[in-house]
């Protein structure tokens, strides 16, 4: 069964702006799905419609087989949303925010208290349960929103840029948490501007641009399309000028650091032998992890000029 099914979804705002031009999208149950796109592409509108915060102009949305128009209550019960911006009452305590949300979903008091405790412990917030939420750090506020979204045990969790603005340590711990939630059977739709996040977490991906889905495929298949890998080489000695090796694009980004674009058909062996011949000793290398970013830019840039704003 599809966790989410969208058919011909369109949205035109009152000011005439067409945010969605008729999108179709299916997300399978259990998937970890990336919904990507540049700012203003229509991601937030699509998420707003799925989570009943925005009225669609036309089209249909179905969550676990429940139509959002005709079977609204059941459809909503399956969904949890972590919005982009903090939207809880800043004067409420952490515990009351999560507990009240359980109540809105009809969870009985005793069970709601148990789940509140479990979710806050999972988010490492139990010690802060009686803290007024405005006193929390940015990362903690984001984790409160995740705990709130999970308290009714949704089958589909939408995370709208959940790691925006948090430090790398918290981001990594949130990745682990998201993976654990997904492994427990919850379908996750993730939007993010950190493309390495989508690349390392998600199995399937859709890219939306100017109100249209421009790509919808599996992550491995998409990345396989990339013909060039980028590597950063750390050198043992500083070099005066950039070595020229046929077939490779090399640029110097520091005295002892080179950025090399390696075509897949050429590989690394030839590069290393050429560098050795030039007496350049490489002490380490790392992949630039920008593969998805490269594809993303290619897809966005390849849009016909008449569809660009």
């Amino acid at each position: 069964m599809n966790a989410l099914s969208i058919r011909n979804l369109q949205k035109t705002y009152n000011n005439g702006f067409v945010a969605l031009k008729g999108i179709d999208l299916d997300v399978e149950e259990g998937d970890f799905f990336a919904l990507l796109g540049p700012n203003g592409a229509g991601k937030s509108t699509a998420i707003g419609i799925i989570s009943s915060l925005v009225n669609p102009s036309s089209g249909s949305v179905s969550i676990f087989g429940h139509d959002l128009k005709t079977d609204r209550s059941r459809a909503k019960s399956c969904l949890g949303l972590v919005p982009q911006e903090v939207n809880f009452n800043q004067f409420d305590t952490v515990k009351s925010i999560v507990f009240n949300q359980a109540g809105y979903y009809g969870v009985p008091r005793k069970l709601a208290l148990q789940r509140t405790e479990r979710c806050l412990k999972q988010m490492d917030l139990w010690d802060k349960r009686n803290t007024v939420s405005r006193r929390l750090s940015g990362g903690m506020k984001r984790r409160v929103m995740i705990a709130r979204a999970m308290v009714h045990a949704p089958k589909l969790l939408i995370l709208d840029e959940p790691t925006a603005g948090v430090d790398i340590e918290i981001r990594r711990s949130m990745w682990k948490m998201m993976q654990a939630v997904n492994e427990q059977g919850t379908t996750i739709i993730l939007t993010t501007h950190y493309l390495e996040e989508a690349e390392s977490l998600c199995r399937n991906i859709a890219i939306i641009d100017q109100g249209l889905i421009v790509e919808n495929t599996d992550m491995a298949g998409l990345l396989a399309r990339l013909h060039i890998d980028h590597f950063v080489l750390d050198l043992a000695e500083p070099i005066d000028k950039v070595p020229v090796i046929a077939g490779y694009q090399i640029e110097r980004i520091g005295d002892k650091v080179l950025n090399v674009a390696v075509p897949k058909e050429m590989g690394l062996n030839q590069l290393f032998s050429q560098l050795s011949a030039l007496n350049i000793k490489v002490i380490s290398l790392k992949n630039k992890s920008n593969r998805l970013e490269q594809l993303f830019m290619d897809l966005i840039d390849s849009k016909p000029a008449d569809t660009k704003q």
Binding site: S51, L53, V54, S73, R74, K76, G106
Partner: protein, 254 residues
Amino acid sequence: MNYSIALRTLVTKEVFRFIRIWPQTLLPPAITTALYFLIFGKLIGDRIGIINGATYMDYIVPGIILMSVISHAYSNVVSSFFSTKFQRNIEELLVAPVPNWVILGGYVSGGIIRGLLVGLVVTLISLLFADIAVNNPLITLSVAVLTATLFSLAGFINAVLAESFDDISIIPNFVLTPLSYLGGVFYSVDMLPGVWQTVSKGNPILYMINAFRYGFIGVTDINIQLAYIITGGFIVTLTLISLFLLHKGIGIKN
């Protein structure tokens, strides 16, 4: 889906909200009305004498109580719901499977409870100044509940349509307060010149205050049944408008 849990959650949250800030919500009406009773009831009232068979103090007590119920029921809902909109907490309710009638019922219940609680506080303060004997408790209580309901609904509509904090102060300042003062809180409409008596009878608050006063001291300028019909009519109309606004998502959804 058990909607009673969602309703109870929302009502409890609303009640805790105004109790948590009781120095802003429950204390000011006690002080303001004590001053009303002292200045209008005691100092000026002693010189006015008897109105419709009641002392001036006894005459104004019900009106002042109901005026407090009206303003606090209204302001509770308008400020709470607008803040919810402004801070975007409303999304917590819109995302959840909470039907519109539960959202409306939760906020209006909060307004009714605060209105009645303030009414009780003002009644207790009035005991310091007047010997209150309730003529008809059923009428007194029912009018208080219906009036609080009506103005909670009005506050809700104001909050839904408001786009700024200015918008939530316009109606209370420029409509509600003048209508309350001109609704016969401090005088009988019989004391007004002919044309102003007719104009006053177009003010719905006049009917509520007089019905409430009848419940307290058995004195009224209007027909009690008419007061119930007018109040009930307004409640039904405002409920339908509120549900329509929620259904369309006006002022709430994009």
